[in-house]
Amino acid sequence: MKIICHREAFLSACQLTASAVPSKDVKAVLRNIKAHADEMSCSLFATDLELGLRLQVGGVEVIKPGKALLPAQKIISILRETREDQLHLDASPKGVVVKGKKVEFFLPYEDPEQFPDVPEFGEEAWHEIRAGDLRELIRRTVFSCATESARYTMTGVLFELDREDARMIATDGRRLALAQCGAKSLGEHTTGTNPPVVPAKTLGVLDRNLIDDEEVVRIRVGVNEIFFRTDCSVLYSRLIEGRYPDYRAILPKSASIKVIVSAGGLLAGVRQASIMSDDETKRLNFHLEKGQITFEAETALGGKSKVEMAIDYDGDEISTSFNPQFLIDMLKAMPGEMEIQMELSTSGKPVLFRSGSSYSYLVMPMS
């Protein structure tokens, strides 16, 4: 393989692809990025066996088609540190030579055939979602995933695809985020009664990979795998196996108290009050009364905070308390001017934060 690449474009492509390179030592060969040049284009591929990302690189002139393995860390360092606009990559059975006008690097040979195969997207049926919408779904849910492995399915996001819409649901057992957007099903593609659970890491990589909001992402769910395809990339991931808890059963059907607040105002109040909540207490008290909402927190050593915020409310007084981080996570993902409806019934019951019909966030109060 012999190519001439534009250094900066090739660097950003390598950096993006490297997000699929395993951080732990799974298999030595996986610490490489595989480059594949054919007559027309050049693509990069990396995988940690759980997920794989293939990216087409622009600004590459192919002189001789072929394949090569590039050690991810080294090639990124080379591309970042050198200052030349164009670099020549020449791969032979001896190794890869990276050459500019004044620099030359030699990377020892590794056999490209040792690199695992790339599953293909397949062309039967798929869903189409606007990239901007898909990114919103990810950003508003993925922070709710469990990080501990006690209930493994909760470390992923439930992804439901119907005829006309797509839903992502994430929960760690203490809070639940549900986001929804429009989608188009082609060739009768739906997830039916057994929707996939996508690892949170995959969605993180996908999020970074979606650059243009208007481009269309094609999604295909297979047996134990999912594909996301954009114009110049394909992301493949294995799914998390196991039963996801029945989230529909816990969404409250009705609420006696409804309050409308702005996301930015609420975030400011919660942030200010939670200065005085620490890892030991992890608690923020909410007190709702006529015309105002009060946030209070306390540290283990007796520090206190009290923040008041005027709201439009004329009902009974009610108090409840949350882990403030749960609210901050959600509010950060919302535009500041967005109106959020807070729905409560009694103090011990979960509280629902709703933004239109497209987003719901359920938080269990602390006892």
């Binding site: 057992g173 608690r283 006892s367």
Partner: protein, 439 residues
């Protein structure tokens, strides 16, 4: 007759502009367990009594006349004192007596540190002579109310105060003219020990003639490391160059030098926020049976976790430590993925640690676990109830309830059942080598 009460001290009268005298009073209950036994059973009075199984945990002055000492093997003790009465011990009664003494001290000063049940430090904002008077009235009050004798030492830091207590005990024995036995034979009551106070500024001088092992932290293994230096007294130690001692003992060397010079800045802490909880057991003879050690690990975890639940704490780590027959030690540490009081997880972790760290082919004489850091459990209710977890919680609550009513050993985990075959037990615990000291 009205009871004599020690006057309560008022910290508010001390303003920050006056020079403040601070003295620390160390209080130690004499022959604690044995004295409680003699107090509660008149037939034991005047007779040699030892408490313990395997080794002597505590012995009365009558037994000491025959050369019986704490930590001596019972077989040896019996040899020295053929009429020795040996009792297994009843920790709950000792605890009650200890708490009574503590309550009396707390009436006098706010700041009391409980180092052990029979070992208290009181922070007194008065000068030495007043502190001695206060100590004497405390000793009298405890004698009247709890019917136990105590020894008291006073100094400007904890180290000097505790050494002064040792001197008080020694001086008490000297009053018998070195012949405790003839004193006892004449049925004369033991006189109270004097309250010993050390003048401020003379700490180093005071400690100088004492043997080195009077300092805290000098045990069997440290003494062995210090052997080549041929140290006899604390003064010898104080003159060793710091670098040499640190090279030999590491960080501990620095601390020891300071102790030897009479410097000790450990504060008197009344309610320490407990950051660790440990449970240990020692055996004599040492044990190498792996199944037994596994069962014991499970038992220790069971005891520690029931304490965790009682206090409403969660832990993030677990340490396992062991001492081999040749006094060498070994330990292992594991961090847990989340704050927890989950017994089965902790048991599995502890047993894994034992398997990984018990490598030498030597029997163990001590095995212990320690949970920490600890924090108050934050209960976050779950959106999706986990039926298995909630059933487990109910089971554990039930277990705690039964044990609170019928004693800890009334209910055992199957994993520690093996201990039943080999160890005697009472209501609250198995009998290890030192039942009362095995926490």
């Amino acid at each position: 007759m009205g009871k004599k009460r020690a006057p309560a001290l008022d910290y508010t009268s001390v303003t920050m502009y006056t020079y403040v005298h601070m003295n620390i009073l160390h209080l130690d209950i004499d022959a604690f367990f044995a004295s409680v036994e003699q107090r509660d059973d008149p037939s034991l009075r005047g007779r040699p009594v030892a408490v313990g199984t395997g080794v002597v945990a505590s012995c009365s002055y009558e037994a000491r006349c025959f050369g019986v000492r704490t930590a001596m093997r019972l077989s040896e003790a019996r040899k020295r004192c053929p009429g020795l009465l040996i009792l297994p011990g009843d920790y709950r009664r000792y605890e009650q007596a200890g708490r009574h003494v503590l309550a009396i001290c707390k009436d006098v000063v706010e700041r009391v540190e409980v180092s052990a049940l029979d070992d208290l430090y009181l922070l007194l904002p008065v000068e030495k002579n007043d502190a001695i008077r206060l100590g004497e009235s405390l000793r009298e009050q405890i004698g009247e109310e709890v019917k136990l004798s105590v020894s008291l030492g006073i100094g400007i830091n904890k180290l000097v105060a505790s050494v002064a207590t040792q001197e008080a005990k020694n001086r008490r024995l000297e009053t018998f003219g070195g012949n405790l036995r003839s004193w006892m034979d004449q049925n004369r009551p033991l006189p109270p020990s004097p309250v010993v106070g050390v003048d401020p500024g003379r700490e180093r001088e005071y400690l100088a003639p004492w043997p080195v092992d009077i300092l805290p932290g000098i045990g069997f293994s440290t003494l062995r490391k210090l052997e080549p230096l041929r140290l006899a007294t604390v003064d010898d130690l104080a003159q060793i160059p710091r670098a040499l001692l640190c090279g030999l003992l590491g960080k501990q060397g620095d601390r020891l030098i300071r102790f030897a010079q009479g410097i000790d800045d450990r504060p008197v802490e009344s309610a320490k926020n407990q950051t660790r909880i440990g449970r240990r057991a020692s055996f004599d003879p040492p044990v190498s049976n792996r199944e037994f050690l596994m069962a014991l690990t499970s038992h220790l975890v069971d005891r520690a976790t029931s304490w965790l639940r009682w206090k409403g704490h969660h832990t993030r780590g677990l340490k396992l430590f062991m001492r081999y027959g040749d006094q060498q030690t070994g330990e292992g540490h594991a961090s847990l993925p989340q704050w927890t009081d989950d017994e089965s997880l902790l048991r599995k972790t502890a047993q894994d640690l034992l398997n990984r760290n018990y490598k030498r082919r030597l029997p163990l004489r001590l095995l212990g676990i320690e949970l920490g850091p600890l924090q108050l459990a934050v209960v976050e209710p779950l959106l999706f109830p986990d039926p298995l977890a909630s059933r487990f919680r109910e089971l554990v609550a039930c277990k705690d309830h039964i044990r609170a009513r019928f004693g800890f050993t009334s209910l055992q985990n199957a994993s520690s059942l093996l201990l039943d075959k080999t160890l005697a037990k009472d209501r609250e615990n198995y009998r290890f080598r030192t039942p009362c000291l095995s926490r």
